[in-house]
Every structure is written in C-alpha cells, then in structure tokens.
Symmetry: C2
Amino acid sequence: MEVSLSEIKYDANGLVPVIVQDADTNEVLMLAYMNSESLRLTMEKGETVFWSRSRGELWHKGATSGNIQRIMEIRVDCDEDTLLVRVQPAGPACHTGERSCFYRGI
Amino acid sequence: MEVSLSEIKYDANGLVPVIVQDADTNEVLMLAYMNSESLRLTMEKGETVFWSRSRGELWHKGATSGNIQRIMEIRVDCDEDTLLVRVQPAGPACHTGERSCFYRGI
C-alpha cells in the first residue's frame, strides 16, 4: 500500500515530524522535521534533508560532518502526519557523537 | 546517564512528541504526544498515557480497546524535546488494527 506525496499533512508551520531509524539494527536514531521542499530533496538525493527549526534553513544531514543518512525506505503513518525514514547512517546521528540521540534514560 | 523530569522541554502547546517502539522487536509503532500530566500518569501506571491533540484530552492507550502498552523504558533525546518509549504492546498500536501505524510506504 502506498501513499502519494500530496496526501502528507504538514502542521501549521509546514512541517512533518520524521523518525529516523537504522534500517539494519532498527535502532531509533533521532527525530527531526521536514517541509515539502526538504522531503523532495530527500527523495531526489536519496539522503536525509531536514528543515532545521533552530536555524530556519534546509539541513542536509552529514553535509559538513560526513555522517550522511542513506535512505532505504520512507514510511507514512495512518493519518499521514508523521514519516518513518529507515536509513543506513555513515556515522553517528547525534551531534554529541553518540550513535543515537536517545542515549539517556529518564 | 539520566535526565530529570524537569529538564524535558515542552513545545508552545505544552507537548512533547513521543516515539513508541516495541521493546522486543524494535519495530516503531506510532508517534504520539504527551504533556507533563500524561507523562506523570505514564510513569505512575507503567502504561502509555498520551495527550490526544484531536480530542483535547488525556488518552490512556488501550483503556477501551485493551491494547495497552506496558512501559519497559523511557529515553530522552540530546536536546530533551523528544521521548522514546519502549513498550510491550498488548495488541495492535494502530486504530486500523495494524501492528504499527507505519504500515504504508510513500
């Protein structure tokens, strides 16, 4: 079953949350956001391109660090307002150097 | 390493996105939202309690369907604005009856 790009529901800021998961280990790496432009670029490049909410600009993950995330699969949830992107990461997802951003408990 | 409850950063609506993952299979099941009250209840009950944005009320997952999600672990991301909840689900996460809400590709 497939969802078309036009069915994706962006929030009031034009963003959709994106869960990034390691396609080999199934580890959840990070949560980030895409707008329609970054999703288009993600599909075009085959690498994750997010919208950085803090910097207010497109963010090609790994463009400076080399830690790109190669897209293996993009999945959509039941109400089309969240994406699950399964990737092969070239390095750590987290800016701290941790493999996953979720390296701490509560 | 541990994060205290007071360090969690809620958005302008008082919500934090929560990735729900099956603790046994590592499958990503759904994305939902919690406010501080639902997080407190989640930890108290040991079962997921979300904030339903569509209904504007607390949502004890499985309270009517029986498909509760037993909390195994709660993790926090590097900037403390997303939670990863690892659960043992008593049944499908999705209202469609699918095990995961991410049952479709793009």
